[in-house]
């Protein structure tokens, strides 16, 4: 069995009467780059804040590196690196000052490594933070999250607001720095194309619950789209695993999860003249899970 870097069990959280997390369960394998997907406002940041012990859940627990994030908060934060979405730092500090300031919180801060990172990320040390570009700001935040060489890195929509080039640069740095060192990366984003090339595991959060968690490759393999012309007597309502159905003229396009040969044979039997199978990218898979109609249109 794979060892978990992060375990979330039955996490419930509410802002007043508004229930945001409705029982999130998640396992993040050690050493993986874990893509945490969800639309805006589905509870990704809330999950991460709770994971960091910044807010207390109504129920459930989070284990990071074997430590409970609510009872051993400080130790958890010492062991992880975190970068928040659109993070603001003290603008009046210079880069070297803010590195020193953050280093003060970590007994195991690696100054040499931090210097190397600064050079690698092209950060001018005597420049004030408020003078940095958005890309440099993200690079600095990454440096501050990694300077103590954490085992687990949590990135909450780290490329938010970056232009495409800066985003690519940032992701390249993430891959270079983290993937080869066996660091677990928990990467939250709503930009699928950003996650797709780097994540080896994926979880999709929708309306406060995890609706799918799987290895990326496995997900790609198991979710398929079929285009067919249905027989008049074809009954799709009892077909298991339909994510989305779309009628196009006389044809029907069906997106199916956990696709195997048995399902293919069943679908073929419902078609008048064979069918076309289409492989989906992560973007389309995500769309099917999150906004798919689950065959309700067809059954009507």
């Amino acid at each position: 069995m794979t060892e978990s870097a992060i375990t979330i069990e039955g996490l419930h959280f509410s802002y007043g009467k508004k229930q945001v997390l409705k029982g999130v369960d998640l396992e993040v394998p050690k050493g993986s780059i874990f893509g945490f997907l969800g639309r805006n406002g589905t509870g990704k940041t809330t999950t991460i804040k709770t994971l960091l012990g910044l807010q207390k859940p109504r129920s459930g627990r989070c284990i990071i590196g074997g430590l409970d994030s609510f009872t051993e908060t400080l130790e958890v934060r010492r062991r992880i690196g975190f970068m928040a979405e659109d993070q603001q730092m003290y603008g009046w500090m210079t880069i070297s000052r803010i590195i020193k300031w953050v280093a003060g919180f970590y007994p195991g801060w690696d100054y040499k490594f931090a210097d190397e990172l600064a050079d690698m990320l092209g950060l001018p040390k005597n420049t004030k933070v408020k003078a940095l570009s958005k890309g440099q700001n993200s690079s600095l935040a990454l440096l501050l999250a990694l300077g103590h060489r954490p085992d687990i890195v949590i990135l909450d929509d780290p490329t938010l607001g970056l232009d495409p080039i800066a985003r690519k640069d940032f992701l390249r740095h993430v891959i270079e720095l983290l993937q080869s060192n066996g660091v677990t990366v928990f990467f939250s984003s709503h930009l699928l194309y950003e996650i797709e090339p780097v994540a080896d595991h994926i979880a999709i959060l929708d309306k406060g619950v995890i609706i799918k968690a799987s290895r990326t490759e496995q997900l790609r393999e198991s979710v398929r789209k079929f285009v067919l012309t249905p027989k008049p007597e074809a009954n799709f309502s009892e077909f298991a695993g339909i994510l989305d159905v779309l009628k196009v003229g006389g044809n029907v396009s069906i997106t199916v999860e956990d696709c195997d040969d048995e399902k293919r044979t069943q679908l073929k039997g419902m078609s008048t003249n064979g069918m076309t199978e289409v492989a989906l990218n992560l973007d389309e898979i995500f769309e099917a899970y999150v906004i798919g109609n689950r065959g309700r249109e067809l059954s009507v």
Binding site: K49, Q55, L74, E75, A84, Q87, Q88, Y90, F105, A141
Partner: protein
């Protein structure tokens, strides 16, 4: 966590605010010093230092907001909170650094004042300034700093946090004026009582605000505010203050005010049956158009015992009435008050006359009370004439008695007259013919709850079998009430309230408790009534301030209300509940001297006041007397 790094960060974060505040606070003292220098007096600051440090609490609030605002921006908050920082320690450190900066702001002009006065002022330093004027702004600054700090943690917007913090500070400082809270237990021993609530507020608020800020920062409690809701909240706060204020002062409506003739005594208002008599010569009648004075008898009546029929060699008015040769006279009730009996077409009053001789020269002279008479007087159309007299001199059981204390009560046709610790019971069915029924010597005793008033205490039950138990209990309390401290004032009223078959009476205690306290009669036997403290209603500073010229004492209890006044303030309390005494009304005339009061049949209050020209330092005017008709507060 590296403390030096955080201290450095904090100093950098507030340095510009600190410098700006220091610049602002030093403007006035430095300017004054320059003016003094130009005038050739030397480069020192004087009164402007005080003006400057009064701004200290406002600037302390600014520092508080600047101190943590940089850390509480939503996106920056996540940045440092996600680091392994001990939030409580971090916030404490930030709080202390900001507090030191705030105190530095006040310290600067004070130090400048101190140094410049030592060096350049020939008169040296003013010790009073440092003893009394400096500590208060410092204490208030600590309070406003803490409040603004806590508000900023909660609201996370500098200007709003400052505004809310300052308003809250003002509210808390005004609150002791408004709320009858009993702070006394824990502050009375260390400060003058009237400052106790302030001291309590100024010590408790910073501590509470700091603890709140710690928890708010740790648990990320914050409020989203907008100007509209803040304005509403501010308006609500002002409304609450106004409601509290109006519940404390000036909520008794004046229905009528009339200047009246005045002859002698103290502007007395006494009951004659259901009517009220002013100064012994006029009935006061009240109707929907207000009150009017109707002369008793046919015409311009001069009241006994002082009359203008003659004066002695020293210019004193000569007594008109029975006297004892060679002896001086003391009369009860005093100051022109009387105990009236309305007998249909005729009106009588009763009084006790004690005669004494003096030995020795004042002030060491000694009085020897030997004779005391109970007399009845009848109104004869144009004068009060003595009609009957009872010699009750044996009530002075100790003839060489240095005091004369008297009390009287009229119950139907029975008059109880007390002299020192003895009493006589007299039949006054025909007031012109006083008939002695009973006499008991040395049976009255004063009572007053002990310092620990929560201890049960007893009052001797007056041994008059003729009245029912309830009336005896009431009589015992009224007659014995503060008996040895001064004249008993309950000859035509009572201090006892009977509600839901429960008997209670009231003390206003300025010596030990500064409140109005209720004592319940809990049981009785053949000899004593046993009483216990029930509850009290503490006075606020506001009441103490307006009540400063004299102590309050209970005037009387009537229809579930306690009336009391001192020289310039009248207060009315609802005393029907045995759980809570509720203040109903407060009436103040700062430059008037309240002489007497009465409650009329229709419930309105009649107040006799004297306007004293001394208040405006105008000796050319004579005293003026007024009658006020006031609406009884509900």
């Amino acid at each position: 966590m590296r403390v030096s790094g955080i201290i450095h960060q904090q100093i950098c974060q507030i340095k510009w605010h600190l410098l700006a505040c220091l610049g602002l606070i030093m403007v006035l003292p430095v300017e004054e010093a320059v003016v003094n220098l130009r005038a050739g007096d030397g480069f020192f600051s004087d009164g402007m230092t005080l003006v400057a440090i009064i701004f200290g609490p406002l600037l302390a609030g600014l520092i508080a907001c600047a101190n943590v605002q940089g850390d509480l921006n939503e996106k920056r908050y996540i940045f440092w909170r996600s680091k392994p920082a001990n939030v409580k320690f971090l916030i404490t450190l930030k709080f202390i650094i900001g507090l030191v900066a705030s105190l530095l702001i006040i310290a600067c002009p004070v130090v400048f004042h101190f140094v410049s006065n030592i060096i350049w002022n020939e008169e040296g330093i003013d010790k009073w300034f440092f003893k009394f004027y400096v500590p208060l702004p410092i204490l208030i600054a600590i309070m406003t700093y803490s409040l603004c700090f806590a508000c900023n943690v909660l609201v996370r917007k500098t200007a709003r946090a400052w505004l809310i913090g300052m308003l809250t500070g003002c509210f808390l400082l005004v609150l002791p004026f408004m709320l009858p809270l009993d702070f006394k237990d824990f502050v009375s021993d260390v400060m003058i009582w009237s400052w106790g609530p302030y001291l309590a507020i100024m010590l408790i608020t910073p501590a509470a605000a700091f603890v709140f800020a710690l928890y708010a920062a740790k648990h990320d409690w914050h409020l989203k505010t907008n100007l509209k809701s803040l304005l509403w909240a501010g308006a609500g706060l002002v409304f609450i203050l106004m409601m509290l204020f109006s519940s404390q002062v000036a909520n008794i409506k004046v229905l009528q005010e009339k200047e009246i003739e005045f002859d002698f005594g103290q502007g007395s208002l006494n009951y004659a049956g259901s009517r009220v008599v002013y100064q012994g010569d006029s009935y006061i009648d009240d109707d929907k158009d207000g009150f009017s004075l109707q002369k008793i008898g046919s015409g311009n009546v001069r009241a006994y015992p002082y009359s203008n029929i003659g004066t002695d060699s020293a210019g004193h008015r000569i007594h008109y009435g029975p006297s004892v040769a060679g002896y001086s006279e003391e009369i009860y009730p005093r100051h022109g008050n009387r105990l009236y009996k309305d007998a249909g077409n005729e009106i009588f009053f009763f009084s006790i006359h004690a005669y004494y001789r003096s030995e020795g020269q004042p002030p060491l002279h000694k009085r020897f009370y030997e004779k005391v008479y109970l007399r009845s007087y009848k109104h004869t159309g144009n004068n009060w004439m003595p009609v009957c007299e009872l010699d009750i001199s044996d009530c002075f059981t100790n003839k060489i008695s240095p005091y004369f204390r008297a009390a009287m009560r009229l119950i139907d046709n029975r008059l109880i007259a007390c002299v020192n610790n003895s009493y006589v019971l007299v039949d006054v069915t025909n007031p012109g013919e006083l008939k002695l029924i009973d006499k008991k010597l040395d049976v009255l005793q004063r009572f007053r709850p002990s310092k620990d008033r929560k201890k049960e205490f007893s009052i001797p039950l007056v041994p008059i079998e003729e009245f029912g138990l309830e009336e005896r209990i009431r009589l015992s309390i009224d007659l014995n009430y503060n008996f040895n401290y001064g004249d008993n004032e309950f000859y035509d009223s009572s201090i006892v309230d009977i509600h839901d078959d429960k008997l209670a009476f009231f003390f206003i205690d300025f010596l030990d408790y500064d409140d109005v306290a209720r004592f319940d009669v809990i049981r009785w036997d053949d000899e004593k009534i046993y009483c216990k403290y029930s509850n009290s209603r503490p006075f606020t500073i506001l009441e103490s301030v307006t009540g400063a010229p004299g102590r309050f004492s209970p005037k009387f209890v009537k229809n579930g209300k306690l009336y009391c006044h001192n020289s310039n303030t009248l207060m009315v309390f609802d005393i029907r509940s045995n759980r809570r005494i509720r203040k109903l009304g407060h009436f103040v005339r700062m430059d008037y001297d309240i002489q007497d009061m009465a409650v009329l049949e229709d419930g309105n209050i009649l107040l006799c006041v004297r306007w004293d020209p001394e208040f405006i330092r105008d000796r050319s005017n004579e005293d003026k007397y007024y009658l006020y008709l006031l609406k009884n507060p509900e």
